[in-house]
């Protein structure tokens, strides 16, 4: 009998990227984003696409889907979303020392979690996180674990001992094959992540996350020192200089807009 595939999906809790620009604030004295009042964090959108990719594999055969996350101040209703979508287990490394890690430190923690909870056939993650947009933790993970990586997946299909990935490019796609285990990052071209069902939400509410401490992972705070330092975080000033074209009605405004652009030889 074929053993079930084991799939790890790395997810991150981030501020809701749909936060209106007017509610997006930065505290420049500490270089941090101020959480918008009343707007809860979310699981990073691309990470939910990665969860969806794992669940599609599970739908098509036999697979166990384990969610891994590193951070601090997790909101459990938020972090359980992948479970309510259908993932099997949630493993959290939560500690004040795990807040605002740089990518190499995050990679160290995730790699230790994977070694502790593995082995896995596939390690998935979103193509980038909507907070710091670095798009490289999964790549570091692959390098640290000595695994191949394929990015920007729009389709992930495990086959005997390997994985076939359709990789979205700016003008089309590539079909890439890599031996498993491998690290794959998933992009929005995969298609929408499923909504949790009521049954899924009930099942998730009964599941408790497994928690790993730095000690469990054999890491110390010293291991997590940043090598890329955030010196300054600020919201760029934008002076609006828009010339609003008005007309007798909306059609007239459209006509005048065309005439104005022609006047300036722009069209």
């Amino acid at each position: 009998m074929r053993l079930a595939l084991r799939i790890a999906v790395c997810v991150k809790q981030v501020p809701d990227p749909e936060t209106p620009a007017s509610a997006f604030k930065v505290d420049e004295s500490v270089n941090r984003v101020v959480p918008a009042p009343g707007i809860p964090p979310v699981v990073n959108g691309f990470d939910l696409h990665a969860v969806e990719a794992a669940l599609r594999i599970k739908d098509a055969g036999d697979a166990e889907v384990i969610i891994l996350a590193v951070g601090n101040d997790f909101v459990m209703d938020v972090m359980k979303k992948p479970l309510s979508m259908g993932a099997d287990a949630l493993v959290l490394a939560e500690d004040p020392a795990l807040e605002d890690l740089d990518a190499p430190a995050t990679v160290k923690v995730l790699a230790a979690m994977i070694e502790k909870t593995g082995p896995f056939d596939l390690i998935l993650g979103g193509r980038q996180a909507s907070d710091w947009d670095q798009a490289h933790v999964p790549l570091g993970l692959a390098e640290r674990l000595g695994l191949p990586s394929v990015t920007l997946a729009r389709n992930v299909e495990p086959q005997d001992g390997k994985v076939r990935v359709e990789r979205a490019l700016t003008d089309g796609y590539q079909v890439v094959e890599a031996p498993t285990p491998t690290v794959v990052t998933v992009s929005n071209e995969l298609g929408e992540a499923r909504y949790p069902t009521l049954r899924g939400i009930m099942a998730a509410s009964r599941k408790q996350p497994e928690r790993l401490t730095l000690d469990d992972l054999g890491l110390t705070v010293d291991d997590l020192k940043p090598i890329l330092t955030l010196r300054r975080l600020f919201i760029p000033e934008s002076e609006s200089q828009v010339e609003i074209i008005e007309g007798e009605d909306e059609a007239d405004a459209g006509r005048k807009l065309a005439l104005r652009l022609r006047e300036l030889n722009l069209i």
Binding site: P15, F24, N31, V33, D102, A103, P104, V107, R127, Q128, D131, W132, D133, Q134, H136, L139, G140, E143, P148, S149, T151, A168, L169, T170, D171, G172, Q174, V175, V176, A178, P179, S187, N188, E189, E192, P226, I227, L228, T229, L230, R231, L233, F234, I235, S240, Q241, V242, E243, I244, I245, E246, A251, D252, A253, G254, R255, L257, A258, L259, I267
Partner: protein
């Protein structure tokens, strides 16, 4: 050794335009005091068409030729990562610059993690911090809502990927030396295999090259309005683009997507129709010279960056705009 190593990319056999942008960024660091000169490395299976003249500002062009480096070493980029790591060991640069392309966004970080050094992705500026003698970079974060300045502390090679379209390509003709660097031993053990590449070029003018772009977003409400956008684009000799929201909704293929995840464009005129202007989208427009917005919400973010705007229902504004353009064309 020291200096700056620019990882060039190949286009039509020669050094790509984006690589010229990297040479400009490297030149800025040299002007600010980074010593040791600029080297440009290129990889591929046949680099016979690469010349020093194509790389103004580079003291030397380093060719790394190997069959494993064909097609950028395929979608997993194992071979280029190994090749750059071997070159790094040989010439020990202070700084390595990649372009944040499909290739560089993967190869840059993988090289950094292989070497155990820091990398900053998607930078829009690089500068020498005269106090520390190390490089500082500026990068958009939180989907472009904020900018962050990072410093490379500690030692080791400083690796950055540079957002395409931010620096102008270097001008003139290069006069450096050309040398070959043997990577045949380094690039063994490649694990990922490229099965095929499927190119889905949007029809007509390429978005990246278009001088006029007519772009639609969530406000269009469905796929049909994109036909009207195409009609206008055809009249103006331009191309159609879209926001991620419109692509994710399935109204138009993702190859039309403009933004942080999608294409970066630099048209003279960018006419956005029913696009709110989320930072994620605006990140693809840093090279657009004149943003023109049609949106019914006067508070929409797009008007903050637009030069001209009409606040109104696109279904009424756009047909009149198109008809006027047609009349003007006579």
């Amino acid at each position: 050794m020291a200096g700056i190593l620019v990882i060039g990319e190949i286009q039509d056999g020669g050094i790509s335009a984006v690589s010229g942008e990297l040479l400009t960024a490297a030149g800025k660091l040299v002007d600010e005091g980074v010593s040791g000169g600029v080297s440009l490395a290129v990889m591929g299976d046949d680099l016979s068409a690469v010349t020093a003249a194509q790389a103004p500002g580079a003291e030397r062009v380093i060719r790394m030729s190997d069959p494993a480096l064909k097609d950028e070493g395929t979608g997993g980029y194992d071979a280029p990562v190994l090749a750059v790591a071997a070159l790094n060991e040989s010439i020990s640069p202070d700084v390595i610059l990649f372009a944040k392309t499909d290739f560089g966004a993967v190869a840059g970080p993988r090289v950094a993690f292989k070497l155990g050094v820091a990398v900053a992705q998607d930078c829009i500026d690089v500068a020498l911090d005269s106090e520390t003698g190390r490089v500082a970079v500026t990068r958009p974060v939180f989907g472009g809502n904020a900018l962050a300045i990072y410093g490379f502390n500690g030692g080791g090679t400083q690796i950055a990927t540079i957002r395409p379209g931010v620096f102008d390509p270097v001008e003139g003709e290069g006069s450096g030396t050309v040398e070959d660097f043997d990577v045949s031993d380094a690039v063994s053990g490649v694990r990922t295999i490229l099965v095929e590449t499927v190119v889905q070029e949007s029809e007509g003018v390429r978005l990246e090259d278009a001088d006029v772009i007519i772009s639609g977003g969530r406000g269009l409400g469905g796929p049909e309005p994109f036909e009207q956008l195409q009609e206008l684009a055809d009249l103006l000799g331009g191309a159609v683009g879209a926001s991620r929201a419109a692509c994710d909704a399935g109204w138009i293929d993702h190859s039309y997507q403009i933004g942080l995840t999608g294409k970066s464009v630099k048209p003279t005129v960018y006419l956005s129709v029913g696009i709110s202007g989320a930072s994620q989208h605006m990140a693809g427009l840093s090279g657009a010279r004149n943003i023109v917005a049609i949106n019914k919400d006067g508070d929409a973010n797009i008007f903050k960056s637009a030069r001209f705007g009409v606040i109104g229902d696109w279904e009424k504004v756009l047909p009149a705009f198109t008809a006027t353009v047609r009349d003007l064309a006579g």
